[in-house]
């Protein structure tokens, strides 16, 4: 059978075919955009931090004991805590820092390059002891890690050594080597010298500064409490998690501890996206089922309505295969018409969605995949009713109603 007469016959029954085409068009638009959103979300969720997230535990310590009013005592406890955590069996490294990965925020500031004019750069800023890079599993790319000498620098002094992330170095000094350069925050009297550049670093933030970070060698402990990041050896996470509180309570028990694995924090951070991905998957599956049911329904109706015509065609010499082919071609034409409109709709919906959701423009691969999927879906859904049509006996042609 050729397309010509099928097409001409379809033009006499526009309403129903337009219905299916519209359904296919909308389905294509929804499915491709849903897939686009899912892929964007997954890319975001799979984006590496550059740290050994799966081995990290965050330990928050909140003091309530009177003894912590004494600054000297706080310092002693922090040192003792650090020592105890590092010596725990299964612990690879630990750092006293106020940085927590995957919280969706942190602390930030605006810096200016010394002698670099008024331009300001916003970056995340965190205090940390020298153990931070080993704990996070972040590599020093240039220069050196912060060390004990940086850590013991006079807190009242006017110059500190710091380490910055590779992307921040590149942002501040796109042409030159950042090593040895210095910058300041609001006070030009206090400058910070870059002694090390590390990477990779990514920590999502409310502002688009996820890749930019400065680590200062400062203590961030005060009477109210302090925080550690602990890196367990592979496979030791649970054991370490269980033993931390005991080890720290032994040093001072008048404080409360809140432990959470970084994996857990990360899961929490992504839970919104996770739920969206699951919901969109559900919506897509149900939508495809509904569309398939719609095509099955309309084709069945079409077959029932055209039984006599099918009998006549059979009497005039159509084989069963001819009948099946007729319905498949008819559906294919409708689907094709639908996907052409659907591609335009998909693009329109995409630009609409991009006004509410951050994401990428719909990739052509997704559209091609969607078109192929709907072609298959259409043919698959038509096959059942078409086979039923092929079973219409040719003798039906001579029955007079």
């Amino acid at each position: 059978m050729e397309i010509g007469p099928i097409w001409r016959a379809m033009k006499r029954r526009k309403a129903r075919f337009i219905l299916v085409a519209a359904e296919v068009a909308l389905t294509l638009a929804i499915v491709t955009n849903a897939v686009g959103l899912i892929l964007d979300a997954q890319q975001e969720m799979n984006r590496p931090s550059g740290f050994v997230d799966e081995h990290l535990i965050r330990v928050d310590i909140n003091n309530y004991g009177q003894a912590f009013e004494d600054e000297e005592y706080v310092r002693t406890v922090v040192d003792a805590d650090t020592e105890a955590l590092r010596n725990l069996p299964g612990v690879l490294a630990a750092s006293h820092t106020h940085f927590v990965p995957w919280r969706g925020g942190g602390s930030s500031g605006e810096l200016q390059i010394n002698g670099g004019g008024p331009k300001k750069y916003r970056t995340q800023t965190y205090s940390a002891d020298p153990g931070i890079f080993e704990t996070l599993g972040v590599e020093i790319l240039e220069g050196r890690a912060l060390d004990a000498t940086d850590f013991t620098a006079d807190p009242e002094g006017d110059q500190f050594n710091v380490a910055v992330s590779r992307d921040l170095a590149a942002l501040m000094f796109p042409e030159e080597d950042a090593l040895g350069k210095s910058f300041f925050f609001s006070d030009p009297e206090t400058s910070f010298v870059i002694v090390g550049i590390f990477g990779d670093f990514f920590n999502p933030y409310g502002w688009p500064i996820g890749e930019y970070a400065v680590f200062f060698p400062t203590r961030s402990a005060d009477s109210s409490g302090h925080r550690f990041l602990v890196r367990a050896e592979p496979g030791q996470l649970d054991e370490v998690f269980g033993s931390i509180e005991g080890a720290l309570t032994a040093i001072d028990s008048e404080r409360a501890f809140a432990l959470r694995t970084v994996t857990d924090i990360k899961t929490g951070y992504h839970s919104g996206s996770q739920v969206m991905v699951k919901n969109l998957n559900l919506l897509m599956i149900v939508l495809l089922v509904v569309t398939a049911l719609g095509i099955i329904g309309l084709t069945s109706f079409s077959v029932t309505e055209r039984r006599r015509q099918i009998g006549t065609r059979r009497a005039l010499g159509a084989t069963k295969a001819d009948i099946v082919r007729y319905f498949l071609i008819e559906n294919w034409l409708v689907t094709t018409f639908g996907v052409v409109v659907g591609i335009l709709l998909a693009a329109a919906l995409n630009s609409l969605l991009l006004t509410v959701v951050a994401g990428a423009t719909l990739a052509w691969e997704i559209l091609v995949g969607g078109v192929a999927l709907l072609w298959l879906l259409g043919l698959g859904a038509t096959l059942g009713p078409a086979l039923r049509a092929a079973r219409v006996p040719p003798a039906l042609a001579t029955q007079n109603v």
């Binding site: 605006e110 109210s224 739920v275 969206m276 559900l282 919506l283 719609g294 309309l298 109706f301 959701v357």
Partner: protein, 441 residues
């Protein structure tokens, strides 16, 4: 006649039970998924205090760096500095006014065997409770005098009341916050706005606080915020805590006022502008005046309280419902036209086109309602599932509970999709000529 039509529709549904079940399932899926998505969207975007959201205003002042705009979405800081807050609290123009921030503090229960625990405390003015219509189970809020005299009184919620005192009327009982003994003056009844609209600075969905104490404790207790603090200058280090607070440019305080009419709004706006003009003369607030009084709903928009995912899902789900309706047009067309001979007889027996049309619309609406009811169940299941997925982030039980409005939305959607899907097929069937199908019998 309607009863007759409903009876006919019911008979038809029963007779073609398989096809009807398919159609009902189709409507149920469409209504279910779109109701869940619209419900989700509405939870996030709905006006949390509809009866007075038009008189509640957040107060913001552009106190940022003279040389740069604030990096916040609105281009001005989202919070106030302590000294600007003091000036705002001094105005008598608003009928109610409250400054606030939150602080993580240790609570020491009276029972010696209970360990102290960390709790997020909202440090705020007495008007907080009147501004936001907080219901009380026992006692009530403290008064302005308690604010002024730094009285050690606290309002707690039922959950903390249970934890500290085992529930009941605990007004007058005491517990310790850090070093200070506080007396319970009121216990809040169930109060859980879905969006924490009075402080969206970290997230519009942070859990509500369980303890509230007077704002004036900030200085003597040397309280620090556990929320966001935004600064463009290093914090002062000289002098006492109070001295530092007085000159600090760090923004960490949210402020709300109630302005009951347009005149009050205008006069408070000019009061704020006059204040910033005055400060400019003193060498502060060098940026041009950009002081904003923003309603709850507008502020929620600015904070993008609706997660972008929820908007995207709502958009897709509505299109999904359209597909379902298109689908149903086809199924109804099949269902109705299969019955053409019978309709021919009815027409021959004197049924008018109009009555045939109505008969079929009634049938599609009946099916729509059946589907919608089932869909509502599906929506409830889906929302429950989403809540279990989001429990940790949202932190509040029953956040996604169906309410009357959602039920109404679902019923509306099912009626609309029943109508949309039924109109064309009903029109087609009512145009069957009376004789056409009789002849062939």
């Amino acid at each position: 006649m309607l009863r007759y039509n409903v009876w006919l529709a019911w008979k038809s549904v029963r007779r073609t039970s398989k096809l009807s079940a398919l159609i009902i399932l189709g409507i149920a899926l469409g209504v279910g998924i779109s109701t869940a998505a619209i419900g989700l969207y509405r939870f996030f975007s709905g006006d949390p205090i509809p009866h007075k959201s038009d008189v509640l205003y957040s107060v913001r002042i552009d106190s940022w760096d003279p040389e740069a705009r604030a990096p916040h979405t609105g281009g001005i800081p989202t919070q106030l500095t302590y000294r600007d807050t003091q000036a705002m609290l001094a105005s008598d123009i608003p009928s109610h006014r409250a400054a606030m921030f939150k602080s993580d503090l240790y609570i020491f229960p009276q029972e010696a065997d209970q360990r102290p625990f960390l709790e997020t405390v909202r440090v705020t003015s007495s008007d907080f409770f009147t501004l936001f219509d907080v219901p009380f189970a026992y006692g009530g809020p403290w008064n302005r005098q308690a604010d002024a005299q730094v009285e050690a009184v606290a309002v707690i919620d039922q959950e903390l009341n249970d934890r500290l005192f085992g529930g009941g009327d605990s007004v007058g009982k005491t517990f310790r916050i850090v070093q200070q003994e506080f007396r319970v003056i009121g216990v809040i009844d169930t109060w859980r706005p879905k969006v924490k609209y009075y402080d969206m600075t970290q997230s519009p969905f942070m859990p509500l606080e369980h303890v509230f104490i007077p704002f004036s404790h900030l200085e003597p207790m040397e309280l620090r915020t556990s929320g966001n603090s935004d600064g463009w200058q290093s914090n002062p280090t000289e002098g006492t805590f109070g001295d530092q607070l007085q000159i600090s440019e760090t923004c960490f305080i949210q402020m709300w006022v109630q302005l009951d009419d347009k005149e009050t709004l205008a006069s408070f706006q000019s009061f704020v502008d006059a204040y910033t003009n005055e400060q400019r003369k003193l060498g502060r607030l060098e940026r041009p005046n950009d002081n904003r009084l923003t309603t709850v709903v507008d502020l929620m928009k600015e904070w993008e309280a609706v997660p972008e995912q929820a908007s995207a899902m709502a958009a897709l789900a509505i299109l999904f419902l359209v597909v379902c309706s298109l689908n149903l047009i086809g199924l109804f067309l099949g269902k109705f036209l299969a019955r053409a001979p019978i309709v021919g007889i009815r027409r021959a027996l004197g049924a008018s086109r109009r009555s045939i049309f109505i008969q079929h619309i009634v049938e599609s609406e009946l099916i729509g309602l059946l589907g919608g009811t089932l869909g509502l169940g599906l929506a409830a299941l889906q929302l429950r599932w989403m809540e279990s997925q989001l429990q940790r982030q949202v932190g509040i039980d029953g956040f996604f509970d169906l309410d009357g409005q959602i039920v109404l939305v679902a019923l509306m959607l099912s009626l609309i999709s029943g109508l949309v899907a039924g109109i064309y097929p009903a029109w087609r069937i009512c145009r069957i000529a009376p004789a056409q199908h009789l002849k062939m019998q």
